[in-house]
Structures are given as C-alpha cells and as structure tokens.
Amino acid sequence: MSLADASAAARARIFATLGKSLSAGRLAAATDGATADPAAADARIAARPRGIRPARVDRDPAGLIALFVEQAVAVQATVARLAKPDAVPQAVADYLAEHNQPARLRCAPQRWLTGLDWAATALEVSQGPAAADDTASLTGAVVGVAETGTLMLASGPAGPTTLNFLPDTHIVALRAEQVVASYEDGWDRIRAAGPMPRTVNMITGPSRTGDIEQVIQLGAHGPRRLHILLIGEAAAGSAR
C-alpha cells in the first residue's frame, strides 16, 4: 500500500472512531455540555474572539514602552534607547565591542537597516540569512509585546529565520510605535501584512535551559545575548 493510501485508510478509521465517540454524548457530560456544533466552530474561526487581556497592559503608549523594557530586562534581554535610526550602527558597534564580539554583522535585508551609514563604523556588514560562522545578527521585528517583553518576528524576504537562532548575539531594532500591549495586537498586524508567513517567532529573552539540576543557563542552543535597540519615543496618546 502506498503512503498516501495508508494515510487515507488511517484517516477514515480515525474519523469513524471520532464520529462514534463524539456522538456517544459522554464528552458533553464530562465537559459541561460542550457539544458538536460545526456552525459554531466556523463562527469561532471567523470571529476569532480574544481571551482575557491582563490588566497590566492597560496603559498609555509611554507606559507600554516602560512595561516592555521592564519585562524584557526581567528575562535577561538588554535594551538601549535610541533617538533615531541613524544611531543604530554606532549602537551595534559599541555593543559588540563591549561584549568582546567580532566586529562582524549579518543584517536582515530590510532597507531601513541596510541603508544606514555602516561605513562610519568599523563593522564588516553583510546581509542575508545566517551561516554557521556568523557571530552577530541584526533584525527587525513585527512588534514588541509589552505584556511579557516578547518580540514577534515573521519570516519572509526581509526576515530570514536563521538570523534569530544561529548567531551568538541577536540584536533587534524596534521602533517605539511597534510596541503593543499584547500578543493579539501582534496577530492583527501579521494578518494585515498578508497570508500567514512560514514562521512566526515569539522571542522572550535569550536562549536558556534548566535541564541540568534546574540551574538556569543562558545560551543553550540559540543566541546567548538578545539586545533590543528601541528607537524613538511613544506618540502622545491617552490610555487604551
């Protein structure tokens, strides 16, 4: 039997069992009356109701930025505030020097980053996906989520996923207006940009493990350092 035939046969068997189990009604008794209702299921996917939004994000834009920074730092990311994108090259050069890292940078192919005046620094800058010997990367992000200091990054021509994981140092440039309250706001922006990308990474601090005696170690397999360059100030606005 071919792979496809075997799979189709298994599918038929699974759905037959599912049909029997679901119509037995036992589940409804066990789960407070949740019942099979395809129309409700379709409606849920269409309406995408949001769950509870933690009250901690009920703040104005400046408050959200403060929360984002606080939360990112709490998970061992570092944050530098910059006034303008022009300051990015020097900030990257300084950061790498400070951490004794090679003066080399792999940059995501995004014009607003690659077009900066890198020549003013001593950095050797290239763009594209990461290779094994790339030591530091610079990427953008879709949003920074204030709730937990989480970055949401989407793959695409301007966002190679390898940049987020292979280099020892991952630097993310984020504009102040990209800081949002919660993950759901990030989903809205990703949906607005087009079809779901191959990869969406939610990144909260650098890589870590607690697998050896529950002692937390940074830099398990992914980046040892996550540095966020937060550019600009919050737009004046009222609490949301």
Partner: protein, 480 residues
C-alpha cells in the same frame, strides 16, 4: 515505547532506595514549585484564564473532527502535507518513509512526547537513520539510553555528576582532562557538539504543542532554541503530533499560552514560541523546502468516549507532577510509560490498557494538589477513581483487596454492625497499644507498620464521642 507500568511497585521501591535519584528530585521544590507560585501570583487573571482555556479545549474536543478537517485543509493550502496514523506503527512507518524519500542520513529531533510514545527513535535507527535528540535533557538521556523521567525536564532524575560522567564517556574526541563539573561547562559542550548535528541534518523532526485550525500552523514552545534550529536548517521539516493538540484560532492559542509557561517552568513566557505554517515560500531566504505533519491517534479518538475524555485537554505542562507527593518521591521512571505523574495515572490506563497501567491510578493519595495547579482544570483524581473502579470491576486487583472491600461494604451499609465492629476494633487496638501509646504491628496494616508505628486510638469511636457531645480534641492530645 514498551510500558513497564505493571512493575510499578517494584520500580517505585527501587526509586525510593536510589540515593542519587532522591538527591536529584530535591531540586523540584525550589525549581518548579516556587517559580510557578511566584509567577502565578503576578497575574491576577490566572484563574479566569484557566476557565477560558478549559472552555476552549472542551469546545474543540467536542468538534474535533471538524477542526482537524479544517487544520488539514489549511496545511495543504500553505503547501504542506498531512499524514494520518491510527497506530504507533503506522506513525513510525510514515516518518521512516518520509526520511527515505528525503534521502536522509542524519535526522535531528526536537523534544516530542508523542515521538517517545510511538518509539520513533527505535524505528528510525532500525531503518538505518541516525536520530539525534537536540533538547539538552533529551540529548543526555539519549546518550545514556534512557527514557525521559519528566515531560518537560527529561533528565530531571540525574545529578550533574552523572551528566559529567556521561559526557566524558560519549565525547571522546575532547581532551579527557577538560573541566566539566559545572552546568555552564556541560551546557557549552553540548551546544558545541550539537551545532554540527544541526548543520549536517537532512530532516528535522519536531513535536507540536498546538495545531492551529484557523491557519494550519503547528506550534512549538521551547527555551533552548533547539526546536527552531531543528526545523529551520534541514530541507525537510516533519511535525509529529497527536490529534488532540488542535485549537481553533491564533487568539485561542494565545490564551492557552498565557497559562503554559507559567504552569510549566514558572516563566511568564517561554523563550521561544514558534508558529510554522507550510514550507518556505518562493522568495524566503531560508527555511525547509518540505513540510509534513503526521497526525497520530493511537487511542485518543476512542478515549473521547470514556470518563477519561477530559484528560485530552492536557497541554503537558508538567505542573501536576511537579506538585505531586508521589511523583516527588519516586520520580518519573517508576511509572513505566511515557507520561508519568498524575496525568500519567489519568491518561495511561486509557492509552495502554487498564490491565497494564492499573497500578498508576492507585499511586495517589488523592490529596488533590495536581488538580489545584492544573491550568486546564482536568479532574485528575476523579479520572483516577474511574480507573480504580474499572480495575475493581474487571477483577484485576488482588483477591484479598476485593474480598476486604466486600467485607467493608457489607459492614458499612449496616450502621449497627458497623458501630459494633468499630467499637470492638478500637477497644482492641487501644488495649494492645495501652503501654506505648502506639502499635508496632496490626493485622492488615502491615503496609503502614513496616515503616512507622500506628498511633493507638484514644477515647472510643468517633460516632460514640460525637453522640456524647464531644466536639473538641481530647485533653491528652491538646496537651502534647
């Protein structure tokens, strides 16, 4: 994986005598319990989120066929392939065939409980592939040829000294006298060794914490980043997931994600939560060229018709075992199957049979701590009680126990007889223990008296004292 749950009593006894294991288990309290408590305290909405998550999963399970169909269609629309497996054997056959078709040699793996369940590594090895576990804990136990003892911390049962020895024996290409005692050094060594594995792999296999019906996305939640390197670098990405992982929308996933890391490790959010939808797009600079999802039933569809159906809400956070006094005493291996602890006791009899797993639902004091922390509000003790009833009804428990329960039921249903028996029993025990205040032995209570004394009863039976109007503790006891 071949279950050894039937030997629970022996394996548990051995675990209690294992000094290394007992030392390793001590890390659980400061590690998992305190971190969870601290993080939950910072989110006042936590309990309300639990209610929402429970409702989301109940609704999804009640419409599982519908949501699975939708998920399948969305994966295909994104350019991926969906394969169905009713049994473990079918699942491993599919993965092996996909690896063959990809011309693979080395296969990297992210942590996946269902892969353990279907014994995927054994199947891959038998077919001539080299599966490489990349989660640090999984890598350690793969080197030691063990199975995981915890669903989120597979090497929880090991001390750093044991891991040092394992690495010294396995990594013979490194200088024998290198310093290798600290977790930092061990982590760095594993990082360096596994990097080559990531870069050379032809196929990457991950599990899934969620399947999103709305988008056809599979979701993994990790801290190390190994799952991401596993699924981004090779040409082929295979996801192995059980069918109950599906949730309706990205928003629903997000609601449950707010509970997962907090319950599991006490983090507010895990370092990496990754949504994968189809293979790389035409203009993507990296990512896998092929994307396969293998959906495994292996008994779950049938479980939906039983009293254990609610166990299918489980998101495998591990909180129930982290807070279980029995798990804390014997560790995960004693349970003898992939999922240990309270959720194992609730789930395993349904998946591997009451006959094989019948000891597990009995390995509980019914203290209820598991339920009090379960983010999905699974009635774990109720489900365990259901399996105990099944064990009794099918006459799987020893004759002595069934006979004893029969006698007790007869007596307990006759109040006068009950009072007479308890009065006699209490008087006899009080007389035997009159000098020491405790009993060293008592017929039928050997399980207790082998390890500790049994306090002698004081002042008659409860019913008698209640009828005499006694409401407080006896003077002798309060005096101590």
């Amino acid at each position: 994986m071949q279950p050894t749950s039937l030997a629970f009593k022996e394996t548990a006894r051995r675990a209690l005598d294992d000094a290394q294991l007992q030392r390793a288990l001590l890390n659980m309290k400061p590690g998992f319990q305190q971190r969870r408590a601290g993080t939950v305290a910072k989110l006042p909405e936590f309990d309300a989120l639990r209610d929402q998550a429970r409702a989301i999963k109940n609704h999804t399970l009640a419409n599982l066929d519908h949501y699975l169909t939708r998920f399948e269609a969305q994966v295909q629309a994104a350019g991926g392939h969906v394969h169905w497996a009713a049994t473990a054997q079918e699942a491993t056959d599919i993965v092996v065939a996909l690896c063959r078709a990809a011309g693979a040699r080395t296969v990297t793996k992210g942590k996946s409980m269902v892969a353990e369940e279907i014994a995927l590594n054994d199947a891959l090895q038998a077919a001539g592939f080299h599966p490489l576990e990349t989660d640090l804990g999984e890598y350690i136990i793969q080197l030691r040829d063990e199975c995981p003892s915890h669903i989120i911390a597979p090497a929880l049962h090991l001390t750093r000294q044991q891991i040092t020895r394992t690495f010294q024996e396995a990594h013979t290409h490194l200088p024998a006298d290198r310093p290798l005692d600290e977790p930092r050094q061990l982590t760095d060594e594993a990082r360096a060794v596994l990097r080559d594995g990531f870069l050379g792999a032809d196929v990457g296999i991950t599990g899934a914490n969620f399947l999103v019906a709305e988008t056809g996305s599979t979701v993994i939640v990790t801290n190390e980043g190994n799952g991401d390197l596993t699924q981004t670098l090779p040409k082929t990405h295979i996801v192995v997931s059980s069918i109950e992982k599906v949730v309706p929308t990205l928003e629903d996933t997000t609601t449950i994600l707010r509970l997962l890391a907090r319950s599991a490790t006490g983090q507010e959010f895990s370092a990496y939560t990754t949504f994968s939808t189809g293979p790389r797009r035409a203009d993507d600079p990296d990512g896998p060229e092929a994307f396969h999802v293998v959906l495994v039933d292996n008994g779950r569809a049938a479980l939906l018709a039983t009293e254990a159906a609610e166990a299918l809400r489980c998101i495998r956070c591990g909180a129930c075992m982290n807070h279980c006094p029995v798990y804390g005493a014997v560790g995960g291996h004693a349970y003898g199957w992939v999922v240990p602890g309270p959720i194992g006791a609730a789930l395993d009899p349904g998946l591997i049979g009451v006959e094989t797993a019948r000891h597990l639902p009995n390995a509980s004091t019914f203290c209820g701590r598991c339920e009090s922390v379960c983010p999905m509000r699974i009635p774990l003790t109720t489900i365990m009680r259901h399996w105990r009833t099944q064990e009794h009804a099918r006459k799987l428990s020893p004759g002595r126990i069934r006979w004893g329960l029969g006698v007790w039921a007869y007596v307990a249903a006759r109040p006068r007889l009950y009072r007479l028996c308890t009065r006699l029993g209490v008087a006899a025990m009080a007389w035997v223990g009159r000098r020491r205040g405790h009993l060293r032995r008592w017929p039928g209570a050997e399980g207790w008296t082998r390890y500790r004394d049994l306090p002698a009863p004081q002042g008659g039976t409860f019913v008698d004292r209640w009828q005499r109007g006694e409401r407080g503790a006896p003077a002798r006891e309060t005096g101590r």
